[in-house]
Subunit: 211 residues, 2 copies
């Protein structure tokens, strides 16, 4: 393990944030801010000819969305570690960013310690997510299966089987009940979940991780 400082690049369209980050990181010998950019295009252009260890990437750039930036950056430089940065915290965006390959995610109120810790971890190939971000992610997971409790046990079971692509008759056989009963459950499910066909029903089931 070498002890050269970790080369980072800051990408954020707010000069204030850039300066803030630079100040926070200036005291630490383990990290060097190589340069900074205020938009996605310039960043990508730079990365075509330069290497860097870790990128601090604001998710709200004027030209390219944060989610797209992640894919584009990783296409250019697969080994760069990306840490998402944002002031607010939308679970869906964070989720997407992670799916696309960010290794870390921080809110902008992160302390210098957190920042350095995140950079170090991400540089080593590990994940780092601030505690607030973790809480948000945890909430969005539990939320997913929240309005399902409206359903009875039997209904959930039937929904699961429907979502598995089984026909009414198959389900009936499997549960030792009449196909007509299964139909009734199906109808009640559709009513409760406020949809009008099996398609939407399955969509919900899969989304809520019932299957």
């Amino acid at each position: 393990m070498q002890h050269n400082p970790i080369q980072i690049v800051i990408v954020d369209d707010h000069p204030m944030v850039i300066e803030g980050l630079k100040t926070l990181l200036s005291d630490d010998v383990r990290v060097t801010v190589k340069t900074h950019f205020i938009n996605g295009t310039d960043t990508l252009a730079f990365l075509k000819n330069n290497t860097v260890d870790v990128i601090l990437l604001d998710v709200n750039l004027p030209d390219i969305s944060g989610v797209d930036m992640v894919t584009k950056i990783l296409n250019l430089r697969a080994n760069v570690g990306i840490i998402g940065l944002s002031t607010y915290s939308e679970p869906s965006i964070i989720n997407q960013m992670i799916k696309n390959g960010v290794k870390g995610y921080l809110l902008k109120n992160a302390t210098a310690d957190e920042l350095v810790n995140a950079i170090t971890q991400v540089h080593q190939g590990n994940f780092y997510f601030g505690s607030e971000v973790q809480k948000i992610l945890a909430d969005s997971v539990t939320q997913e299966s929240r309005d399902l409790p409206k359903l009875t046990r039997r209904e959930k079971h039937v929904l699961k089987l429907i979502a598995e692509g089984k026909t009414t008759n198959t389900i009936a056989e499997e549960l030792f009940i009449s196909p007509l009963t299964v139909e009734t459950h199906r109808r009640n499910l559709m009513q409760k979940l406020e949809v009008s066909n099996a398609a939407s029903l399955i969509k919900i089931a899969v989304e809520k991780k019932l299957i």
Copy 2:
């Protein structure tokens, strides 16, 4: 930040692994192995009356599955950090464990450094996943959208609309094509994706994140 050693508990049904872990950790003053267990029941009983910082949890216990253990442990002690341990690496299990709340996951060939690093990070409330585990997770994500490229652009579009719960006629109107054409696309989709009804089709679409 206090400097009391992190209290950990090892849960593994292989005495050899337990001894190995103890040896690896014995040199490090930051970590103390409080005790160990060879099954889930004893571990849970212990946790009812004792606190602990981090648990190293083998996923293949004789009595309770690793996935269930995670939920049970967190129900008892929400603040304990759990690090999953296994020799092999099944993406689906790792995914489930993470969903249930493990903060870290290591393969059993992890080095002492990795081990201590994982324990420290997890204790601080952060995630830690060994590089092999990350690779596995990344693969399972990319795999998701792999066999979709078989589909043509139009087919993907139609699939998306089907998955949104729209009927053939609605889709036809939306795309300014004949309902019969939509039917054909639907059939081709089912053939290509090797399923026999719209339900399974949607399931796949949602799972592969097409929508």
